[in-house]
Symmetry: C2
Subunit: 205 residues, 2 copies
DNA sequence: GTCTATCTACGGGTTATTACTTAGAAAATG
DNA sequence: CATTTTCTAAGTAATAACCCGTAGATAGAC
């Protein structure tokens, strides 16, 4: 029997997943949680084999919860769920050590076989995700250096050059240089365009 | 027997809702669709009492589909579903003539009673929504004039003043004036901030 | 040790944006 | 018909952003 905890802030999703997994005898949902905080509380008294968790949740979100679970309970396998087939997310999830990453619109069979695979020690990522990873790993986003990403984030929050300079404690001229390089790398030539890019590619958080 | 069509691009949501509504004998899900296009096709051969539809969907989204359904089949009641408790959405949905607007995280009982209410001719909006509407209906967004919204949209697409002027065939000085007024009304003082605002409040489409 | 990437920063000049004011024409509202 | 709103536009001056190159310091890779 595979013991599983389900974490999602939407009851509807939890019900939907429950309905699916109940079709399979070998999987037992021993508990449910609405967010990362609840999950961590439950883990003090409860030992699941697998945690299946949404990425987007209030309070403590899925990414943070993933990192905390992996730190405190490295033997618990974690499968992340997401609406978004987004490269940035996926890379972070993989780096954080999740055993699986599934898009929410997969079929029940796929979900069950993923859980079993992960339980048996493999990793499992949605087909779409393999494709996404294959696409442009060395493209666009990775070209931005840490500092550039930081500057871009501040830009996306509506900071002007001077504020960014103050915030990062560097010269306005340096901010200008970073900004110029970012624009060149992303082939975007207005600040507004950068804001849009940052938000769309989730580089603003 | 209330005949209902369920429209959502995520099978999981449809399953979750089905599971809930199956508890009630008086509701019959006669069909499901993944997006607005499929819904419209189905409506040529199928006559539901109520369409229950997600707002965010690929291809033809919920808002557009709502308008089309209301135009072609005004007798069909429509309940919109959304993850977001977003004022802009709600106002648009109400203006477009939907009979209901529910947040996806309501309970099964609430959902059933909403369907029955709507079937009987009332309108039904989530409690949260009434609160949201009560909040600041006369605030922020409604103060932007048509022209200002247009300018804001172009700003959010990365246009600079000159390009906007060319696009709208007005003087750069006029664009400056509009922009200044927008900033004042929204109490935002950078262009980047405007882009963010526009995207977050969905004024960029 | 050399090479490369990254972060830092400036000079000099050009262009864009902003701040503050004012104001006419047209349309909608009363 | 009077009033208000909206869209239009400009003067003037200050400020910010952008474009071009250049370059030192530091850390990591080969």
């Amino acid at each position: 029997m595979i013991k599983l905890i389900l974490v999602d802030d939407h009851p509807l999703f939890r019900e939907g997943i429950s309905a699916r997994l109940s079709m399979h005898q070998g999987i037992d949902i021993i508990s449910e949680a609405e967010n990362g905080r609840q999950l961590l509380e439950q883990l003090t008294t409860c030992s699941p084999d697998i945690v299946m968790m949404d990425i987007n949740m209030p309070d403590i979100n899925g990414m943070d919860a993933l990192e905390m679970v992996k730190e405190k309970y490295p033997s618990i396998k974690v499968i992340m769920l997401s609406m978004h087939d987004d490269k940035e997310y996926i890379l972070n999830v993989i780096r954080a050590g999740a055993e699986g990453y599934l898009l929410k619109d997969i079929s029940g069979e796929e979900m069950i076989s993923a859980i079993i695979k992960v339980y048996e020690g493999s990793k499992c990522f949605s087909n779409e995700i393999a494709e996404i990873l294959a696409q442009d790993t060395n493209q666009k986003n990775d070209v931005l250096t840490t500092r550039e990403q930081l500057v871009l984030r501040l830009i996306s929050h509506g900071y002007n050059n001077k504020k960014i300079a103050v915030e990062l404690d560097i010269s306005v001229r340096t901010v200008e240089t970073h900004k110029r390089n970012i624009k060149q790398k992303l082939m975007i030539n207005t600040t507004s365009g950068l804001v849009r890019y940052a938000i769309e590619h989730r580089l603003d958080k």
